[in-house]
């Protein structure tokens, strides 16, 4: 059996000693994000062509400019100026980052979008797809050249389900991971099947001396530091 549990994250230790866990994204959501962006781009081009059509020669120039900007600048501008996400990536909850965990900059973004034209080869993104399948951090060739990767934008976990119980102090010391598990139980207990919630609470009943779900939730409320209003 492998020592480490399988996960989709790529871990970085920063110089400050903080460990960052970046959930790396593979080709499925990226394909869909690409598709959304493609739809947006071609819609813009279509609109531009309609406008250009009634404007004669000046319109042709306008059309060429629009095509140029959409082709070369769309991705770069969005990635650098909007938190590493084009609209398509935003919808899918993705984000481009540098490999060292910093926000992507001009050079990284420009390189990864220039090399896109190699990823597309020989048609239908064959090279890019193979590169994502085979590379460790799921990078296409452009990502490898620009030292970037695509991650899932971390979501805020659901909070605020602990309002209904009054906090009770814990009777025994717990490690941070253990406290996290208790809080997670407190927050999610309401979403679980009641039987299942009771069953989970029973597991650590020998520690809390109480098998009820509500007691465990009140401990969770105490851990997150909620004050008793009364």
């Amino acid at each position: 059996m492998s020592d480490r549990l399988l996960d989709t994250t790529y871990d970085i230790a920063t110089p400050e000693g903080v460990e960052l866990r970046l959930p790396v994204a593979g080709f499925a959501p990226r394909c869909l994000a690409w598709m959304i962006d493609a739809i947006i781009k071609y819609t813009c081009l279509l609109v531009a062509s309609i406008v250009a059509n009634v404007m004669g020669e000046f319109g042709t120039g306008l059309m060429l400019l629009a095509a140029f900007f959409l082709l070369w600048l769309y991705n770069v501008l969005f990635e650098v100026m909007f938190n590493g996400a084009t609209p398509g990536k935003k919808v899918l909850g993705l984000r481009v980052m540098n490999v060292d965990g910093t926000p992507v900059g001009w050079s990284g973004s420009i390189i990864r979008n220039l090399i896109r034209f190699i990823d597309v080869l020989p048609g239908a993104y064959l090279f890019g797809m193979l590169s994502i399948m085979l590379s460790k951090r799921m990078q296409r060739l452009g990502d490898l050249a620009g030292d970037t990767l695509v991650i899932y934008q971390p979501k805020q976990p659901a909070r605020g389900r602990l309002n209904t119980v009054s906090p009770t102090p814990l009777t025994l010391p717990m490690s941070p991971d253990e406290q996290k598990a208790v809080v997670s139980f407190g927050e999610r207990a309401a979403l679980l099947n009641q039987d299942r919630a009771n069953e989970l609470a029973r597991i650590i009943a020998p520690l809390t001396n109480d098998a009820s779900t509500d007691t465990l939730r009140s401990h969770a409320a105490w851990i997150v530091g909620r004050k008793d209003e009364e």
Binding site: M1, S2, L5, L6, D7, T8, T9, P23, V24, A25, G26, F27, A28, P29, C31, L32, V51, V54, M55, G56, F58, G59, L92, G93, P122, G123, A124, Y125, L126, M129, M133, Y152, K155, M174, S175, D177, E178, K180, A181, S184, F185, R188, L191, L192, N193, D195, R196, A197, E199, L200, I203, I204, P206, L207
Partner: protein
């Protein structure tokens, strides 16, 4: 099923991340999975190739093969699901199980449900939980409410990527082909009506499709499984259970260690017996808690739980009131006129802007002429190529030497500035030697080094003259001993004859 041995990091994830995790599970055991996959599919593909070669039913065989694809899902699922709970993948046992697994509960998937949009996501329900009929439907509803749409996404990505890989490989082969073959091959390959293709082309087409499918099908199964596992992790809080059990285990180990210490140090504590009892109870809890019956109970209740039933059936159309749009009446002509007018105005503005830009550019160029004019002057080649003469006392520059060196030296001498006269004579002679005879001087050359350099590149007569100049200078410079006027006049008189010839 034992959650303690789980080999992936369990936590509630986003759906795409969960699908990704499934893909990683496939990649982790790619060796076993592909051995089983090829064992299952290669015979079928070989058979198809034969059918294609000998009959005209190749297309039908391919359709049949494609329809039977769900059969291969089961054995792949078996490998990754067992690995999930800590069982090492073993190719042999998996190959043995292929026949019993492959057909399990497959009637559903081989019916028109073959076209199910989220097959790989729902496959674990029939394959691993073994549910059929109404129970399968209830379960599919519970899970589907959460992950059906992403399951459809996985299927869509899979189908399109198979197509993309297939097209990509064909284009790659086309690109790498010698030009002479390219045209005939291309014509054969892309011929509109496939009955004109050769058998060889048809079979290579089949092989390329098969390779594309092989690359992605295990990923498809894995991604669906990932979605399924994530859904159950959320519904049943698997991650919390694992964390709680670890917590209990840690305490039990601590308590056991503590009671051992107490025994060693023979400290009589009243709670001693009680402690071991608690520890015993805990180990009992850890080992024997999770029986099969208990496992199934919450599973089923998840399926039938009413609170989780978020479905509402609506069987009539409801009108959604939209805010009324403002009426805008433009006749076609007015629109056209408007746009044409706009275009003209904009183009006039842009044209003026362009002309103004051009004028500004010209102005900038004119104003900065002092900066760029020097670059346009014809290059003074002579000056550029003039060698640098650097003596021990400093550089000798052409500018500081007079045009007629002997004459100015003589006049300096007559004015009584004798030392200066000799210095000028020396420096001028060295400079002339360098420019006229291509004497190469080392940097910061001393007098003797100059003599040696001159001796190397000129004849004896020149060298002798050079020596006379140098010795006159040395005696003045280092011994403060002036030569007589006759010697200096002789040097100045002879000077032109030594350098003039070459000068012209």
């Amino acid at each position: 099923m034992n959650l303690e041995n789980v080999t992936v990091e369990l936590r509630p994830r986003g759906e795409w991340e969960a699908a990704e995790l499934g893909g990683r599970m496939v990649r982790r055991d790619a060796g076993t999975i592909y051995r089983v996959w090829f064992a299952m599919t290669l015979p079928a593909v070989a058979l198809m190739a034969l059918v294609t070669w000998f009959t005209n039913w190749g297309g039908l065989a391919l359709l049949l093969y494609w329809w039977l694809e769900p059969i291969t899902d089961g054995p792949i699922l078996r490998i990754i699901s067992r690995r999930l709970f800590g069982e090492e993948p073993d190719t042999r046992s998996n190959l043995k199980a292929v026949f019993s697994i492959a057909w399990r509960n497959k009637i559903y998937w081989l019916s028109p449900h073959r076209l199910h949009f989220a097959r790989s996501t729902m496959m674990p329900v029939t394959q691993l939980e073994g549910l059929t009929g109404a129970r399968r439907r209830a379960r599919a509803k519970t899970l589907g409410a959460r992950i059906f749409s992403h399951g459809v996404g996985v299927t869509a990505v899979y189908q399109h990527l198979v197509l993309a890989l297939y097209v990509g490989m064909i284009l790659l082969i086309f690109m790498l082909m010698p030009e002479s073959v390219q045209q005939s091959w291309g014509q054969d390959w892309f011929s509109m009506f496939w009955d004109t293709r050769t058998k060889m082309t048809e079979i290579s087409d089949l092989v390329i499709f098969y390779l594309a499918q092989s690359a992605l099908h295990p990923w498809f199964v894995g991604a669906g499984f990932g979605l399924y596992i994530n859904c159950r992790t959320q519904l049943e809080a698997w991650d919390i259970e694992v964390a709680f059990r670890r917590m209990l285990q840690r305490r039990a180990a601590l308590k056991a260690a503590a009671s051992l210490l107490i025994v060693i140090f023979l400290v009589p504590l009243p709670s001693f017996g009680q402690e071991t009892e608690v520890a015993d109870e805990m180990t009992h809890q850890i080992q024997g808690y999770w029986t099969d019956e208990e496992l199934k109970a919450p599973l089923e209740s998840v399926g039938k739980l009413e609170e989780l039933d978020i479905f509402e059936e609506v069987d009539d159309w409801q009108r959604i009131e939209k805010p009324a749009k403002r009426e805008r009446d433009f006749s076609g002509n007015a629109m056209e006129d408007f746009f044409e007018g706009l275009a003209q105005i904009v183009s006039v503005i842009v044209e003026f802007a362009l002309w103004i830009t051009v004028a500004l550019l010209l102005l900038v160029i004119f104003l900065s002429r002092e900066r760029w004019m020097p670059y346009l002057k014809p290059l003074d080649l002579k000056k550029k190529n003039a060698p640098r003469v650097i003596l021990a006392g400093g550089e000798v520059r052409a500018e500081e030497l007079p045009d007629d060196i002997p004459q100015s030296a003589m006049s300096l001498w007559k004015e009584g500035r004798r030392r200066e006269a000799l210095a000028l004579l020396y420096r001028g002679t060295v400079y002339a030697a360098v420019t006229h005879y291509n004497v190469r001087l080392p940097k910061s050359a001393t007098e003797n080094m100059c003599v040696a350099a001159v001796a190397r590149s000129t004849d004896r007569e020149q060298t002798a003259f050079f020596r006379r100049v140098v010795s006159a200078w040395i005696r003045c410079a280092y011994a403060s001993e002036l030569v007589d006027e006759e010697t200096v006049a002789g040097l100045c008189r002879d000077w032109p004859s030594h350098f003039k010839a070459v000068q012209q």
